[in-house]
Symmetry: C2
Subunit: 625 residues, 2 copies
């Protein structure tokens, strides 16, 4: 981007008057600073209302601005890894007016969504995918002789995931227009204590890594086709960059030109490094050092507390971390208590210590607590390795992220019947995070795996019961799955049992499991009041299915199965097959989740899916007509 193209622009604080993102390239540096201030204010005001990821977005205000100044989105294609830091990108690419609808039903998504804007090039939500996606985009550009750039913006936390490495290993062997921005903030580092984290911290903090020649110059020697004009251009910007550029070897070795570390809050420095990165026409990794929460007053006034995860996340209304009693904390406290008596119990998380409420365990049993970074594959096989030595590992993981460990559950845990406990948090509908984060596949995933046992408790007491059984009764792979948030108020009225509970009735049997059992009980009562006598069969052990369940169900002329999970491959389908093979000739109705589930509140989604008590009542009445 040329510094000479500076033209008169509207007051940059008035975002609404700008033509975005085109006008950004014409702003002066002082105007950029004003714009960043305005964006920060908008972020804070909005996210405090809508919830969402505030700190990570405050950290990338300048970086996002610089990206849109130096690249031509969507011809140049920016892929935001994890995606929750794309709010600024949304603001700068035509979604300012809708920004107040963030994460609401029918509003802006909290993650990049191509159906929302052509500037959102690729759906993200799970970690460490962006380099691989950008590799595909860059190769497509090469084949099609498209001269534009594929840019992956990846946080340091995501650099602990194996996919990041697979992407670099494959990207690094090409000569494509592939640029990886490593957005390195202290946050990911403090959470993901691993070798790569230490390595990045070393680069940032140690003068020992400074080379006598800066990285761009050095790389010129190994790229013969970069000719004199570019070398000249590079030399001109050299002096300004030199002080910030420190050589690395890890990324060099993976085939990338390494540029960095760069102050991620200095738009001028970012302009220069991005402009330099564009000149290589080969894979470049730009290491940008940002401060999470930058410009957020509580953080600036009290940086010590700012680094404490629970405080800042409560303040930022991060819905991922709850300090109130909820399924997660019931699990976390109970596991810590169990581990005090049973010294073989270990706890493993993939960078979700607070999200899975393992902070209680970590505080009491630091010797047996493991945060492996965003590396679910490793976590599962690591647990299998511990189990092979007689330990009792518990992998606490969100349902949607356990998908990353599917092969490892089959191959490393189930074949050998290792006693690994999966504590599956966020199982079921999670709400505002939308399609990428709903926990609707763990049941079909695990139900198909031989030797698995799966519990789906309805409330806190049952969760505790299942956890004890999983650790002290069961022998092989076993999962306890429970939803995000708090148990329904009526959960306390439900019977508690490790296998199942049957409240007999006559006309119709309602079968369900997990959190919506409370809705089913309410529905049963409402129907009773309307003169319809329904039985309720609440499953706790959902895999494998108990033979006795079939005997119970066969006695009813009508069966309705409600499931807060994917319909295909789910328990309702399996139950139906067993009924049919057993010769059941009654009426069977199955209501589960069909397809991906868009963002909205959990209750609103339940309404749409027909899983509220009222909806169950209505469905059953219709089926009985």
């Amino acid at each position: 981007m040329s510094r000479e193209r500076q033209i008169s622009v509207p007051n940059p604080i008035d975002l609404t008057a700008m033509n975005l993102p085109e006008d950004l390239a014409s702003l002066t540096i002082p105007q950029c600073k004003l714009l960043c201030e305005a964006i920060r204010k908008l972020l804070i005001d909005t996210v405090m209302q809508t919830g969402g990821h505030l700190s990570s977005n405050l950290g990338v205000v300048e970086l996002t601005l610089a990206l849109h100044r130096n690249f031509h989105s969507p011809d140049d294609r920016i892929v935001w890894d994890v995606g929750h830091q794309a709010y600024v990108h949304k603001i700068l690419t035509g979604r300012l007016d809708a920004f107040h609808t963030l994460r609401q039903e029918n509003g802006l998504a909290g993650f990049p969504k191509p159906t929302e804007s052509p500037h959102d090039t690729f759906i993200t939500g799970h970690s460490s995918t962006a380099v691989s996606a950008a590799c595909g985009i860059a190769d497509a550009m090469r084949i099609r002789k498209n001269p534009h750039y594929a840019i992956a913006v990846v946080g340091d936390g995501a650099s602990t995931g194996g996919m990041f490495y697979e992407g670099l290993n494959n990207g690094g062997k090409t000569r494509n227009n592939l640029i990886v921005i490593l957005n390195d903030n202290n946050w990911g580092i403090s959470k993901n204590v691993g070798a790569i984290a230490k390595y990045l911290a070393n680069i940032r903090n140690s003068g020992d890594y400074v080379r006598t020649k800066w990285a761009v110059e050095q790389t010129l020697n190994i790229i013969p086709k970069v000719g004199k004009p570019i070398a000249g251009m590079l030399k001109r910007t050299k002096d300004r960059l030199k002080k910030n550029l420190i050589g690395s070897t890890l990324f060099d070795q993976l085939g990338f030109v390494y540029l960095g570390p760069i102050d991620g809050h200095d738009v001028e420095a970012l302009d220069e490094v991005l402009d330099a990165a564009k000149q290589y026409h080969c894979p470049v990794l730009v290491h940008v050092h940002t401060i999470k929460g930058k410009g957020y007053a509580p953080a600036e006034q009290n940086p010590g507390e700012y680094h404490g995860v629970p405080r800042i996340d409560v303040e930022s209304k991060n819905p991922e971390i709850s300090t109130d009693e909820c399924y997660s904390t019931v699990f976390g406290k109970e596991l810590a208590a169990i581990a005090a008596k049973d010294k073989s119990v270990c706890a493993v998380t993939a960078a979700m210590k607070y999200g899975t409420a393992l902070q209680f365990f970590a505080a009491e049993h630091p010797n047996r607590f493991f945060d492996v970074g965003i590396a679910e594959q490793h976590a599962v096989t690591f647990c299998a390795g511990m189990a092979s030595m007689g330990m009792k590992p518990v992998f606490a993981v969100y349902s949607t992220f356990l998908q990353r460990g599917y092969d490892q559950i089959i191959h490393d845990v189930a074949i050998a019947k290792h006693h690994v406990v999966f504590a599956i948090d966020r199982a079921g509908i999670v709400g505002e995070d939308g399609e990428t984060h709903q926990g609707i596949f763990d049941v079909s995933m695990l139900a198909a795996i031989p030797h698995m046992k799966v519990y789906s408790p309805a409330g806190y007491d049952e969760l505790r019961l299942c956890l004890h059984a999983a650790l002290h009764q069961d022998k092989g792979p076993v999962a306890v799955r429970y939803p995000r948030g708090q148990e329904p108020p009526s959960a306390a009225e439900l019977p508690v049992d490790l296998r199942f509970s049957h409240i007999p009735g006559k006309q119709m049997l309602i079968i369900t499991y997990g959190r919506i059992s409370a809705n089913a009980l309410t529905a049963k009562k409402q129907l009773q009041a309307q003169g319809i006598d329904c039985g309720l069969l609440k499953l706790t052990t959902i895999v494998p299915l108990d033979a006795e369940l079939l005997t119970i169900a066969m006695q009813y002329p009508n069966i309705a199965f409600f499931e807060e999970s994917d319909e295909l491959g789910g328990i309702g389908e399996q139950f139906a097959a067993l009924l049919l093979e057993a010769g059941y000739h009654g009426n069977y109705f199955h209501n589960a989740i069909h397809g991906f589930v868009r963002q909205a509140s959990v209750n609103r989604i339940f309404e749409k899916l027909g899983l509220t008590a009222d909806a169950m009542v209505q469905t059953i009445r219709e089926k009985l007509v």
Copy 2:
């Protein structure tokens, strides 16, 4: 291991007279050489009969011997990554007598199997898991104050997998007795052209990487607790090791002490480096350079051809690569032909170019062919990235390895409905490779994912038809799955259709799909000859299920569904649920695969599973009584 403990031993060539593995430590170096010769002869003689992985085992004869000389298995726990190179380990740990039963029904497994021997510490088969498993073992040892070692033996090919990196990143942050042996041979390198492969080749081949001080000395400076005695010991072996040790940085940066490269066919050098590795009591990576097929006469006489994959694999009876016509080659040739006309078609493999028969595509369209290494996660998302740019990527992958991409299919392909084609080879029973390699989960895996379409053609013609449809009719994610080997002789008699084929009958409807459709047709004919009139419903599109199928099936009083796939979450279960909800009141019987399937020939496994024509006839006759 002390050199002084040399005692008189039986003639080391007579393996049967040795107490294994205990006697190994007492052998002199000349005796070791004789032993290695004897083992090579046994390997060649046996594997030429049984089939299996010859070259990789010939490459690790000295390494395996050295491991068992210097460690005390099974107290020290050796995890063999991928596992197909563990034959020598089996010979040296009490399974010499049974070695001729390798890969046969009820015989020795071709992979490590803890139920077979305590020396097989962990089941392996899929790639890149060993470091994670060893991390778990090492942490369990630390917690339990067990002073032994966890050793992961990993090939260079496996180093392209993200799990390897996740394992190193987590292992490298500990102070555990964790030793990673990187078994680096030219084979993996030539196949996995990636940045890490180039990097390893550089270490091996370039004098530029030699440091002035050897790695052990350097590392002493950063491990304060390693005191004088160990330093003295290290110094004594320094001179002999010095010439072989070249410093690295990549593994240092990930927290490992790097020792290497070592000549993997020099038992003395291996003894010394392993002894050194044991002294650190912190993570050590030993880089061993071996030659695949070492000692195999055809390879030694003609090293050029030895490096050509098809030749050596035919010669070594590697069952993974077929040059005869088979499902794989039919796919590979057809895709190459399609791509000649459609320039948007790209082909992707995860280190299985020959196994998936993509060599035809690679030769004709090198610009659009991608071997990403053993990195299925990356492969899937890379395809999604290409698809987002309008290309038509085809990921050819074995069913069992696609399990690694489960999350990426959901998250990166299905939500956005990217048009990615999955060519799923080895779908169904693969035979002698056993539990870790059977392709029995892809159907349940994909059936549960919204927006997926899955074809399961019965023979070659239908495979071609499905491939064309997948590329030119379908729009979203679509899979074509087909088995290992050749179509059944009677496949030519089957009708060919993209949706389904119905041959009407009266008493019983046989439903099935894929390769066993031929068995079903034979069964139908046999039953006809016995006066039993069965219809046959052969599905080609198995996901989603066609509504018309239900209409057809409802007309029959009896239905038998045969499925060469996992029962739970499979198509038969789904079909049953649809039938029950539609009010079907006939008899339904479902025969699919329940549990993991042990090694045997495909036909023998079909017999045991009841999926042969004869078994189908018998089952149907029983059900009709």
